[in-house]
C-alpha cells in the first residue's frame, strides 16, 4: 500500500477525482501486494474512505461517464468518445456516429491519453531569467499566470502602439472552425499579426496542383467507398494522409467480398509502406517518378480514346500537355514497364463500368519533392480524364484546412533572421524539429528578441522560448473542428486540468482584451467580444450558425416555434457534433493551365550514390507522437522495430556498403550529415534508402529525446515547387562506421516456414467454390459445455491492414505496462495482442511480397494446452468459453506460457511501473498485475461483464453487438468481430461458417474461439 500513500490525485477540494473510489483506484496500483492480500482476514492498516462534499449529478462512483469530443491529434478531426471514471479520462474510442471515422480510431488517437497525462508536460507558466549575461546563460523559472500574461500583453501593446503589429509572428498548427476565426480576429486586433499555420504534412503539392487545375487550392474528399480500382501514387492513405481512419473504413468496406466485386488496389511507390502492403499489386519505382507514370497513363487513355465525358477541346489541350510523356519514356525513368503502365491505364478508364469508377490518390509525403506539384497535377488529370472528378474525387466535401505552406515558414524564418520580427508566439507546433535542419528555424527564432510558447508539451521549439504559457490538452478544452465541408465536430473538456495550464482560447481572449480595441472610433474594426470566455465565444459562434428552419407561410404555428439553441447545443454535445448540408460547387478546368507545359515531372539527377525517401510515421506522425510510451513500444507495422528508427536499406545495398543490420552508418547529403543504425528492408526501389520521420528528437521529454534518427537533419531547406518540403529524392552517400547499435525488432523473420499461420485464398478459387471451411478433427478430450454464451471472435485477414490501432486500444484498456528499449531488445514485450506479419513470394503482376497481417491474441481454446498444465488452477475454462486467468491465484510457474503454441501469454518479470501522472490513465475495471504473475487477453472480460450487466438492467438477453472488446471497437477496418457463437444469427457465427474460415495451428486441435478469415488474393 506504500505506493498508494503517495496519492497523486490528492490535490485539493476542486478535484473531483480525489473524493471517490479510492479503493478502486488502489486496485490498480497495489494489487496483490502483501497488505492487500491479507486484507480479507485480518485487521488492515486503517484506510480512509472519502465522500464527496457535493455529488456531481452525472457521476455514479464505479460507473463510467462518457463524453463525445473530437480527437486533437491530427487535422482529420475524428470524433471520439472519452470514457471517464471518477473524473479522469481512462480510454478513448472512436465515435460511431461521427461521419469522419464512424467508430474507428487510429493508434495516435488512442495514445492522445499519454499526451494528456504526459509526465513531461509543462506544469505551469515559466519565464526565462538571465543568470549570466556575459556567458549568455539563462534558466526558465516558474512564474504566475498574471505576470506571464502581462509580459505578453506589454510586448504586444508596445508593438501595436508603435504600428508594428506586423512584426509579431504567430505560428499555429492548421486550425479550423471557431478557433481559426478567433485567431483571425485576434491577429487583426493585435495589429495585423503575421499568422502562419504550419504542419510538415501540409498537402502543398495537392493544393498547388488543384489551384492550377481548377482555381481551388483544396484537398478534396476521396471517396474510397465507390471505386472499382484504386491506384495510390506513393500516398499512405491508411497511415497519415488526409483522413486515414475514414479512408481505411471506406476502403475496407469496398474491398469486402460480400459487397459484390471488391475493389482492386494498386500502389506505386519507392518504399513498401503499410498502405502499399495491402495492395493487390505493388510496384517499386524510382522516387519522384510517380507523376510521370500518371501522365503516361493519361497519355495512353487519350491515345486510345478512352476518356469519359470530356469536352473535345479540353481533350486536345490535355493531350498536348502530356504528349511527351509516353509509357516508354515513363518506363525508362521509373522502372515500371510500359506494358504495365498501359494496362493500368486501360483498367483505370474501363468504360464497361462507366465513368467515375476509379480513383487515383497522390500528394502524400511519399511522393513529394521536386516533382511533387506537377506530379500531383498529372494524377488529378488522370482522375479527370477517367471522369472521377465530382465522383470519387469530391471537391464539394473538400478539407477546410488553412492555406499556409512550408515556403511561408521559410520566408518567416528569413524575416526573423533579418530582424523583421520582434515577437514570435508559437502555439502547439514544433517547427524547430519539424522543418529541415538546413532551414535553421532554431537559429531564426534565436534572432527574435522575445519568443512566447503557448504549447502543451515541452519540445525543441519551446526550449527556445522566453516565456512559456502552457495550454490545455484537447481533453481539457472546449473547441470545435470543421475538418471538411458538411462536418462540424464539437470538442468538450472531459476532466479537470491535470496541470496548471489554461485553455488557449481563454488565454487569447484575455490577452486580446487587455490590449484594448484596435480602433475605438471605428465600429467596423475587428474586435473581440467584450466579455465571456472561449466557451461563450464557441457557443455564440454555434448559435450564429444554427440552421433556422424555413418558415412555412401556410402554417402559423410552425413560425411561432423558434429553434431552441439550448436543445440544439445539447444534442450536438451529446452526439459529438452536427452535419450540415453540402452545397454543390463543381470544379472546372482553368484554361490558363495549358499556357505552361508540364515540365517538372522528371526527378533531379544527383551525383550521390543513393536517394533518400523520408516517410511519415504511422506512430509518430511528424514527430509529435514520439514522447508517448505506447507509440514507442508497439512495433512498427512492417519492420517491427520499436523504440527507435534508423536507415532502411536493402540487403543488396547493405552488402555493397559492407554493412549489416544494426550497423551504424554515416548518411551524408548536400545539406547535412547524420549517423543512423541500419535496418534491413528488402522492399525498396533500386538505389533507395529510407528513413521514418518523427524520431531523433533532441529535446522532447524522457521517452523521445536522443532516440532514433531524424531525416530532417539531411533534407534540403529550399521548398519544392508548390511550397512543400522535399521529403523524397534527396541524394545521399552512406559510409559504414565501426559501431553496431541495433534497433530492437520484435519479429526477425517474416517467413512462415510453411506453417500456414496466415492463410490466403484466391478470388478465382473462391468464386469457383473451391475453398471450404476446415473440418473439425476428432478429439480425445471431452467437449466443454457452453450452456448460455460461447464467446468467439472472427478476424478477417483480408480487411486487417496492420495499423496497430487494436494493439494500442488493448494497452489502454488492459493496463498493459510498457517495457522500454532494453527489455524490448530482449523480447520482453507485455502486449496481449500483437500483429504478426508474414510474407509470401510476390503474386503475378506485383513486385511486392504477398503480405499478410495476422493479429495474434489468446485464442481462448476449448482444448487449451495452457489449462491442463497449471498446477494451481489459475487458468481454466469458463462456461462461456473463455480461457480465464485468475491473477491472484497465479504463482508464476510459467508452465502455461511454455505450453501455449500461440505464444500469447505474458509473464511479469518486473513490477510494472506507470510514471505519474500516466498512472491516472489506468483502467480501474482491470486489476493491475504484479511481478511473478502471468497475464493475457480474456476478450476484455470486464467489458463482457459490463455488457451482460447492461442487458440485465433492461431485462433482456445480451444482443449481438452489445459487447465489443477494445480491439474490435477500435478497428478502423472492422476486421475484428466479436460475439456469441451460441447465437446462430450473430455475425461471428456467420463469419465462422464462411468458406474462408480457418483456425491458426488447427493441426494441434486446440479448438480456438478465434476464427481467422483467409486473406483474398485478387488477380489482375
Amino acid at each position: 500500500m506504500g505506493r498508494a500513500g503517495k496519492d497523486p490525485l490528492n490535490k485539493g477540494n476542486d478535484s473531483l477525482i480525489e473524493v471517490v473510489e479510492r479503493r478502486t483506484f488502489l486496485k490498480v496500483l497495489g494489487s496483490a501486494g502483501p497488505a492487500a492480500a491479507v486484507a480479507a482476514c485480518s485487521p488492515v492498516p486503517p484506510e480512509k474512505i472519502i465522500p464527496m462534499v457535493v455529488p456531481p449529478e452525472d457521476v455514479i462512483p464505479g460507473i463510467a461517464t462518457w463524453y463525445a469530443s473530437v480527437c486533437g491529434e491530427c487535422p482529420s478531426g475524428c470524433g471520439i468518445q472519452v470514457r471517464t471514471r471518477e473524473g479522469r479520462a481512462v480510454k478513448i474510442e472512436g465515435n460511431p456516429e461521427h461521419p469522419v471515422n464512424q467508430g474507428g480510431l487510429c493508434i495516435r488517437g488512442q495514445s492522445s491519453l499519454q499526451g494528456h497525462y504526459n509526465p513531461d508536460r509543462i506544469a505551469g507558466p515559466q519565464a526565462r531569467r538571465v543568470t549570466n549575461e556575459a556567458a549568455g546563460q539563462s534558466v526558465l523559472e516558474p512564474t504566475t499566470w498574471e505576470e506571464g500574461q502581462q509580459a505578453l500583453v506589454d510586448r504586444l501593446q508596445a508593438l501595436r502602439d508603435a504600428g508594428q503589429g506586423d512584426r509579431v509572428a504567430l505560428i499555429t498548427p492548421p486550425l479550423t472552425g471557431t478557433m481559426a476565426s478567433l485567431l483571425d480576429t485576434w491577429a487583426s486586433v493585435a495589429g495585423g499579426v503575421r499568422w502562419v499555420q504550419y504542419e510538415p504534412f501540409g498537402y502543398e503539392a495537392v493544393r498547388d496542383a488543384h489551384q492550377r487545375l481548377f482555381g481551388r487550392a483544396e484537398l478534396p474528399h476521396y471517396d474510397f467507398s465507390r471505386p472499382d480500382l484504386v491506384i495510390s501514387f506513393g500516398t499512405d492513405f491508411l497511415e497519415t494522409f488526409g483522413s486515414p481512419v475514414g479512408y481505411a473504413k471506406a476502403h475496407a468496406n469496398r474491398r469486402r467480398l460480400d459487397g459484390g466485386d471488391a475493389a482492386r488496389f494498386v500502389q506505386i511507390e519507392s518504399r513498401f509502406s503499410m498502405t502499399g502492403s495491402n495492395a493487390d499489386a505493388w510496384h517499386a519505382v524510382t522516387p519522384g517518378t510517380e507523376g510521370l507514370i500518371a501522365a503516361a497513363m493519361v497519355q495512353t487513355i487519350l491515345a486510345e480514346d478512352r476518356a469519359q465525358g470530356i469536352a473535345p477541346e479540353a481533350l486536345t489541350q490535355i493531350g498536348d500537355l502530356v504528349a511527351e510523356t509516353t509509357p516508354e519514356s515513363a518506363a525508362a525513368a521509373s522502372g515500371l514497364s510500359a506494358d504495365t503502365i498501359r494496362e493500368l491505364a486501360r483498367e483505370f478508364s474501363d468504360s464497361a463500368t462507366g465513368a467515375g469508377r476509379s480513383l487515383a490518390v497522390g500528394g502524400g509525403v511519399g511522393a513529394s519533392g521536386e516533382t511533387g506539384a506537377d506530379g500531383q497535377l498529372a494524377i488529378t488529370l488522370l482522375n479527370y480524364v477517367a471522369g472521377n472528378i465530382g465522383e470519387t474525387v469530391d471537391f464539394d466535401r473538400a478539407s477546410t484546412l488553412g492555406s499556409s505552406t512550408y515556403a511561408d515558414m521559410v520566408e518567416l524564418g528569413d524575416a526573423m533572421r533579418s530582424g523583421d520580427i520582434e515577437l514570435a508566439i508559437v502555439v502547439n507546433t514544433n517547427p524547430v524539429f519539424a522543418m529541415p535542419a538546413a532551414a535553421d528555424f532554431g537559429g531564426a527564432l534565436a534572432a527574435v528578441p522575445y519568443v512566447v510558447s503557448l504549447s502543451t508539451l515541452p519540445d525543441e521549439t519551446s526550449a527556445l522560448a522566453d516565456l512559456l504559457l502552457p495550454t490545455h490538452s484537447s481533453l481539457e478544452s472546449w473547441g470545435d473542428s470543421h475538418p471538411r465541408q458538411g462536418v462540424w465536430g464539437l470538442m468538450q473538456p472531459v476532466m479537470q486540468p491535470v496541470f496548471d495550464t489554461r485553455p488557449l482560447g481563454d488565454l487569447l481572449l484575455d490577452v486580446g482584451r487587455a490590449l484594448g480595441p484596435l480602433d475605438a472610433e471605428d465600429e467596423n474594426a475587428p474586435a473581440l467580444p467584450a466579455r465571456g470566455d472561449f466557451y461563450r465565444y464557441l457557443r455564440d459562434a454555434w448559435e450564429a450558425r444554427m440552421p433556422v428552419p424555413e418558415s412555412d407561410p401556410d402554417d402559423e404555428e410552425a413560425e411561432a416555434e423558434a429553434p431552441d439553441f439550448e436543445e440544439y447545443w445539447e444534442a450536438a454535445l451529446r452526439r459529438g457534433g452536427v452535419t450540415t448540408p453540402v452545397a454543390s460547387n463543381p470544379v472546372e478546368l482553368d484554361p490558363t493551365l495549358f499556357e505552361t507545359p508540364l515540365s517538372g515531372l522528371s526527378p533531379e539527377s544527383t551525383s550521390r550514390a543513393l536517394r533518400l525517401v523520408a516517410y511519415p510515421s504511422l506512430h509518430f506522425f511528424d514527430g509529435r507522437g514520439a514522447n508517448r510510451p505506447w507509440l514507442q513500444e508497439i512495433p512498427e507495422p512492417l519492420l517491427k522495430t520499436t523504440w527507435g528508427t534508423g536507415l532502411e536499406m536493402t540487403p543488396a545495398t547493405a552488402e555493397g556498403l559492407g554493412a549489416d543490420e544494426g550497423q551504424l552508418v554515416s548518411v551524408e547529403s548536400d545539406h547535412g550529415q547524420v549517423d543512423a543504425s541500419v535496418i534491413l528492408n528488402p522492399h525498396l526501389a533500386d538505389g533507395v534508402v529510407a528513413m521514418a520521420i518523427g524520431q531523433g528528437h533532441t529535446n522532447f521529454g524522457r521517452y523521445a529525446t536522443d532516440r532514433g534518427v531524424s531525416p530532417m537533419t539531411i533534407l534540403a531547406a529550399a521548398p519544392a515547387p508548390g511550397g512543400g518540403p522535399r521529403w523524397t529524392g534527396t541524394g545521399v552517400d552512406v559510409a559504414t562506421r565501426d559501431v553496431v547499435r541495433p534497433i530492437p525488432r520484435l519479429q526477425r523473420t517474416f517467413d512462415q516456414e510453411h506453417r500456414e499461420l496466415a492463410q490466403s485464398a484466391s478470388q478465382t478459387a473462391l468464386d469457383a467454390g473451391e475453398v471450404h471451411p476446415e473440418e473439425h478433427h476428432f478429439s480425445l478430450y471431452p467437449e466443454h459445455e457452453h450452456p448460455v454464451h460461447h464467446w468467439g471472435m472472427a478476424i478477417d485477414l483480408d480487411a486487417c491492414n496492420g495499423c496497430n490501432a487494436c494493439v494500442a486500444a488493448c494497452y489502454s484498456e488492459n493496463n498493459i505496462p510498457v517495457m522500454g528499449a532494453d527489455r524490448m531488445r530482449r523480447g520482453r514485450t507485455m502486449s496481449w495482442l500483437r500483429i504478426e506479419r508474414f510474407e509470401e513470394p510476390p503474386l503475378e503482376g506485383s513486385s511486392g511480397p504477398d503480405n499478410r497481417f495476422l493479429p495474434m491474441l489468446c485464442q481462448q481454446c476449448d482444448h487449451a494446452p495452457c489449462e491442463t498444465v497449471c498446477p494451481v488452477y489459475a487458468t481454466y475454462h469458463t462456461d462461456e468459453g473463455l480461457n480465464a486467468q485468475v491473477y491472484n491465484r497465479c504463482v508464476g510457474t510459467r508452465y502455461c506460457a511454455n505450453n501455449c503454441p500461440y505464444k500469447v501469454r505474458r509473464f511479469n518479470w518486473f513490477m510494472p511501473e506507470f510514471e505519474s501522472p500516466l498512472n491516472l490513465q489506468l483502467n480501474p475495471d482491470v486489476t493491475g498485475r504484479s511481478d511473478g504473475v502471468m497475464e493475457k487477453c480474456t476478450f476484455c472480460v470486464q467489458r463482457i461483464a459490463d455488457g451482460k450487466e447492461a442487458a440485465k438492467d433492461e431485462e433482456r438477453p445480451v444482443r449481438d453487438g452489445d459487447i465489443s472488446p477494445a480491439c474490435a471497437q477500435s478497428c478502423p477496418a472492422e476486421a475484428i468481430v466479436f460475439g456469441d457463437m451460441n447465437d446462430p444469427s450473430s455475425r461471428v457465427t456467420e463469419l465462422g461458417n464462411d468458406n474462408r474460415a480457418y483456425h491458426a495451428l488447427a493441426e494441434f486441435n486446440t479448438r480456438p474461439a478465434v476464427t481467422y478469415l483467409k486473406k483474398v488474393t485478387r488477380d489482375a
Binding site: K27, A36, C41, P51, I63, N888
Partner: protein
C-alpha cells in the same frame, strides 16, 4: 481445497502471499451478530447508525444511494448530512464538526470498515437486484453505534452464499 492450500504452503511464503485470497477460514462462522471480526474503529465523527436507522427510521439506501446503481454503495456526501443538520440539532458538538466540514467544503475522512482485496471486483448492484439485504453482509448496522465488520468477507464466505443461492461461482465473476 485442502490440497491447494497444502500445495500453496509447499510452494513457500511468496506463493502464500499470492494465494492470500483463501487463507484458513475462521473455524466456525460468528455465532452471534454481536460477534465481530474487528473492533470498532474510531471515526472522525461519532456517527450513530442506531440513532439514524432504528430511532428515526432512515433507509440504508437513503444515504448509501449508489448501492442499487453501481459497484459501490457510496458514503453520503457531506451535503446529505448538512441537508438535515443545518436545521436539525445544529448545536450538538458532534454535529458542529459536520457543519465545519460543510462550511469548509471539505470531505469527512471516514475510516473504512468494510474492505475487500484489490483483486476482487465486487459490485453492490447485482446483489441488491437479487434481493440480498444489506444486513446479510454488513450485519445489523442499524442497531450499532459505530459500524463494525461482522462477517469475514473471505472468499469462502462469499462462495458459501453463492452456493446456497445458486449464484454464479465462476472465478471470473469476481477476479479479472
Amino acid at each position: 481445497m485442502a490440497l491447494l492450500s497444502a500445495l500453496a504452503i509447499w510452494l513457500g511464503g511468496g506463493a502464500y502471499v499470492m494465494l492470500g485470497a483463501q487463507p484458513e477460514a475462521p473455524e466456525e462462522p460468528p455465532s452471534a451478530e454481536t460477534e465481530t471480526v474487528a473492533d470498532a474503529t474510531e471515526q472522525p465523527i461519532a456517527f450513530s447508525h442506531e440513532h439514524h436507522v432504528t430511532e428515526i427510521g432512515i433507509e440504508c439506501q437513503f444515504c448509501h444511494a449508489y448501492a442499487r446503481r453501481g459497484p459501490v454503495a457510496g458514503i453520503p456526501p457531506v451535503q446529505t448530512c448538512a441537508g438535515c443538520h443545518e436545521v436539525v440539532l445544529n448545536e450538538e458538538p458532534e454535529i458542529l464538526k459536520v457543519l465545519d466540514y460543510w462550511e469548509n467544503e471539505e470531505p469527512i475522512p471516514w475510516v473504512r470498515v468494510h474492505n475487500l482485496p484489490d483483486y476482487v471486483r465486487f459490485s453492490h448492484k447485482p446483489h441488491i437486484r437479487a434481493g440480498v439485504n444489506c444486513a446479510d453482509c454488513h450485519g445489523d448496522v442499524g442497531s450499532m453505534e459505530a459500524a463494525v465488520q461482522v462477517e469475514s468477507l473471505s472468499m469462502g464466505w462469499c462462495v458459501t452464499c453463492h452456493e446456497e443461492q445458486d449464484a454464479n461461482k465462476d472465478c471470473l465473476v469476481c477476479h479479472y
